[in-house]
């Protein structure tokens, strides 16, 4: 029971105040008017009577009425809140809100395409433009101009698919083949434009390899070439390390180690810290803590000579990498053939944001073992 007011006619309101939390919706509306209504509300009347009281009673009684009014207002508000909440609950009780929402079909670019696009964007930011070239090439563009010695074991790294067509005549001709790398586009770019050349070259390349879990007879490659005066091995290292930090993470460790390609010298492989074990050694990196990501090197003077670029004046660097392999590493895809099969269940896993809502975003390698 609320505290007595000290005025018997006001104390008569107290049971009604106490009953407010039990009022129904209709009762609440009626009681609100009956107590606080502007015209005939019981407390309103009591308040109206204050000025007519003797001066000495006026102050205490007025304060008591006002306090009682505030109590009623708070009680009515609280009761309304409770009733509203009950109403909302009743109204929704017929619908199961856990039923699935209506969706639309979503599509997606191929996961390899997204990797290629990301790589291209990083190099665009470094002043590179995109160049492309034919997939059927002559021996000259694919091998000779790139300083492959005729009939040399270096050719064994490139099991070549030849096209059944007469050889192309002329100095830049020879037998027709499916390019074994995107490097012929280097030659085309240099023949097309004087330095400075900065091109990034995505494309499909072909090898006479059986189709198995880790090899495909056609796969993507992405190549870069920078040629200008004053370009050195330092620029190669700096630019490619910058790329790795953009593509993987700013704290990813990189290392360069010697390698061999006929068209670059010095040649190097760039490794990045294994994105699965972060350097401690695991099955994915064969315990080395490193993953081979790209091959690179300073453009061989013989390549410049074939491309009409003065090798004494200009220097340059080039690199190449395999987006299919990088895609497999990034997403933890165990078999390259999945990237060719067009299986909807596979493709739906790579919708940005996830097709079924539960997929984590595919931002970095950290979540790659999915």
């Amino acid at each position: 029971m609320p505290n007595p007011t000290g005025y018997s006619e006001l104390d008569a309101f107290l049971p009604r105040l106490e009953a407010v939390p039990r009022l129904s919706v209709d009762q609440l509306a009626t009681e609100l008017i009956a107590v606080l209504g502007r015209k005939n509300g019981a407390l309103t009347e009591a308040l109206k009577s204050v000025p007519s009281l003797p001066l000495d009673q006026r102050k205490g009684y007025g304060a008591a009425v006002n306090q009682l009014k505030a109590s009623f207002e708070a009680a009515f508000a609280a009761r309304r809140e409770v009733l509203d909440s009950e109403r909302r609950g009743r109204e929704s009780s017929g619908i199961d809100l856990t039923m699935p929402g209506r969706r639309r079909w979503v599509g997606a670019e191929h996961p390899v395409t997204r990797v290629v696009d990301e790589i291209v964007e990083i190099f665009r930011g470094l002043g590179f433009t995109v160049a492309v070239g034919p997939e059927v090439e002559t021996e000259w563009y694919n091998f000779t101009a790139l300083n492959f010695p005729a009939d040399h074991p270096a050719m064994d790294m490139h099991d070549t698919l030849y096209v059944d067509a007469p050889p192309i005549a002329g100095e830049q001709g020879g037998r027709l083949l499916l390019r074994t790398h995107t490097s012929p586009v280097q030659i085309r770019a240099m023949l097309e434009s004087p330095p400075p050349v900065r091109v990034i070259i995505p494309g499909l390349v072909y090898r006479n390899d059986p189709f198995d879990a880790s090899h495909a007879p056609a796969f993507s490659q992405i190549e870069g070439l920078a040629v200008d005066e004053g370009i050195s091995f330092v620029d190669l290292k700096a630019t490619l390390a910058h790329f790795a930090h953009q593509f993987f993470s700013p704290i990813t460790k990189v290392r360069f180690r010697p390698s061999f390609f006929p068209f670059t010298e010095p040649s190097a492989e760039m490794d990045v810290e294994c994105q699965i074990c972060h350097g401690s050694g695991c099955a994915a990196c064969k315990g080395t803590g490193w993953m081979e990501i790209l091959g690179c090197g300073m453009v061989h003077p013989a390549v410049f000579e074939h491309s009409g670029v003065d090798p004494e004046r200009y220097t340059g660097w080039a690199f190449g990498m395999g987006p299919h392999r990088i895609t497999m590493l990034r997403h933890g895809i165990p078999d390259i053939r999945l990237l060719y099969d067009g299986d909807m269940r596979f493709l739906e896993q790579f919708v940005p944001g996830g097709q079924r809502g539960g997929h984590p975003p595919t931002g970095g390698w950290a979540g790659g073992q999915g």
């Binding site: 209506r102 639309r104 079909w105 599509g107 997606a108 670019e109 191929h110 390899v112 395409t113 470094l126 002043g127 590179f128 433009t129 492309v132 034919p134 997939e135 059927v136 002559t138 074991p153 270096a154 064994d156 790294m157 698919l161 096209v163 059944d164 067509a165 192309i168 027709l176 499916l178 434009s193 400075p196 050349v197 900065r198 499909l204 006479n208 189709f211 993507s220 920078a226 091995f233 330092v234 620029d235 290292k237 700096a238 910058h242 290392r255 180690r257 010697p258 390698s259 061999f260 010298e265 010095p266 190097a268 492989e269 003077p301 060719y340 099969d341 067009g342 299986d343 909807m344 493709l347």
Partner: protein, 797 residues
Amino acid sequence: MNVSLRWLEDFLRRRLDVKDVTERLAMLGAPVDAVEPLHTGLGDVLIGLVEEVRPHPNADRLRVCLVNDGSAERRNVVCGAANVTAGRKYPFAPVGATLPDGLRIEKRKLRGEASEGMLCSARELGLGQDGDGIWELGTEATPGTRLLEALPLDDHRLVVDVGPNRPDLLGHKGIARELSASYGTPFRLPVIPGSPTIEVPPVRRVGNSTDVGGVRAAIEDLEGCPRFLAAVVKGVKVAPSPDWLARRLEAAGVRSINNIVDATNYVMLELNQPMHAYDIARLRGPGVVARRAREGETVITLDGVERKLTPGMTVIADDGGAIGVAGVMGGSATEVSAETVDLFLECAYFTPAGIRRTRRALGLSTEASYRFERGIDRWGGVEALRRCIEIIGATAGGELAGAPVDVGPGPSNPSRIFLRPARVTQVLGVELPWQALEGYLVAIGATVVSKPEDGRIAVEAPSWRPDLLREVDLIEEVARMHGYEKFPSKLRPFRPGLLPDAPVERATAEVRRGLARQGFFEVSPLPTGPADGSDSVRLLNPLSNADGYLRRRLLPGLVRLVEGNWAKHVADVRLFEIGTVFTAQAGGERPREERHLAAVLTGHREPPHWTGSGQDRFDVWDLKGLFEAAVALAIPQGAVQVEGSEWIARDSSGRTVGRAGPVAADAPPWAAPLFGFELLLDPAPRLPARFVTLPSTPSSERVLALLLGEGTTARQVEELLERIGGELLESILVESDYRGPELPPGRRSVAFRLTFRAADRTLRDPEIDAIEARMLTALATELDIQRRDAGGPRGGS
């Protein structure tokens, strides 16, 4: 290249940490693909001293031995080997030990006698083929010592990835040289246990033909074989190799055969010089010649296969014909056998291109051909031959018959390469003092002939480095020896390239995004397949006939992917591809390459939902809408038209560049219809969309339900309405197409919702009425079309 860590240790005379060596080799350009610990399964095996041997009471073939295994007690061991002798040491596997083959030794009784362990043969320990008797050890180690500690068995095999430019790394010496430079410690050839038994006199240099130990050695094919060293060793005893030799070869992945063959293989693995030993007794006539094969000549090689030879090949021949394919494989007729007494040793340099031609023609690749093809050390033969003779002397005895000979025209002056320090700076980006350059060059075995007085250093490359031919080759060596890691990695200002972006790539990216937005998944199947028309481009050497041609269209490949999905009971398939297609050209032209876009769709139009929506399957109108959207993306100013019973796309010049329609496929009975389209992707630059002022005046709509006769198309009606409606006709929407018995025969009712708007004023009904009247008149006179009802609902917005 399989490398034994122990072997390297013997070169460098120090212990090596396998992880550190792996790391250093990687940074030197010879990455280690795999590290295989050898004989780790022998940890339980001890040195056992047999103190007493007595016959088994119940079995003639068995003996009971008392074995001292270092513990206080003596072990009773039943042994079946005939060679067990008291006072000798053998590998002993005590009770509880596990052998490499997984056998666990337990205490048991053999014919009534208790046996507490096992004396082992080499084969039982996984250490070779010798299983005839138990393995007698000549070790000083006390009984009970672990076998791995007593013998150098705990080796590691490093599988080193050697590039085609570095033949010198195909021998342990070459790898040791690199590590020597890396560690800054000297290296030298390991000592041969037991040598020298034979004093090897200096090699005698002769012309192109000479006599050695009664055998004529000659070169007749100087192009294929410019150098041929030979020696004759008489009175050898062919036998199994001693342990050290067999272990060395096995660590490097080569099976031990006998002391002679193993000696030649040892030299190959150590010095990268393939050698061959001939049994003199089996030669026909006293001569061994390197010459071209004769037409129709054959030889049976060591693998027992008869090889047909051609005059392009270099062979080793005796007076009766070819006895080996030079540098590839010896012949079985003159092979060293257990009866061999006198040896002719061949140590030649064969020309790489010739070996490559021959091994490809024969389809026969061997350890020897692999090395010759990459180029061995042309002047390394003397050391190799001496080494081989020493090993034979130490392991098989015998006498050298005369000095070894060096047949051939002799050495020429090594060519000089000039290295400019300024060029080093230009290429590598850092300035290195010339003393450093000299130091690096010396470390790889080069000779620095002159100081850089004229701004360049004259260098003679070592003979084992055929890859060093020009200045840039030396710059790479400088960078390698300096260490790639030591070069700074500082991004510097650059000039952007002058070439513009390839337009086709920009167009492709836009189309890709557009189709993905339409709910399609991008795919990229293999671009090869079966023939697809007479102008398909054929491959000369495909992996299979099913992939014998380059694709002429994308659609067949996509259909195969749909069938693959159906095979996995996936019914809702929406795929697209952007890729290159190839068409053969007549007249010696290279095949034409074009970039195409194709898509296929089948199954539900939208995901089925529990409310009942999404039950419809794709139909031809979905196809048409998607085709129109794709054409808008792929072909600027392109248009979709009807041709016969399909839709085609035309470009701005009117050329047909795409088609859409139902697609035939090997479909399961439950599959929904399959539709597809394919079109050319126009690389022309896309123009940005131009803003059109948003309308500020109200529009008015009219619906015309029109009765179209047979052969009259909606498109004809639309063209007429557009013509008459002029600028005031903002849009036409086809609302329905109805056929029914209440219509006049041969007629269908098509409702067109027309939206009129004037940009500058509110259109009033009389003005629209007038246009509508003109439209109806024209429809009636030009297309014989009447209105179905008196007038449609009128409205405005």
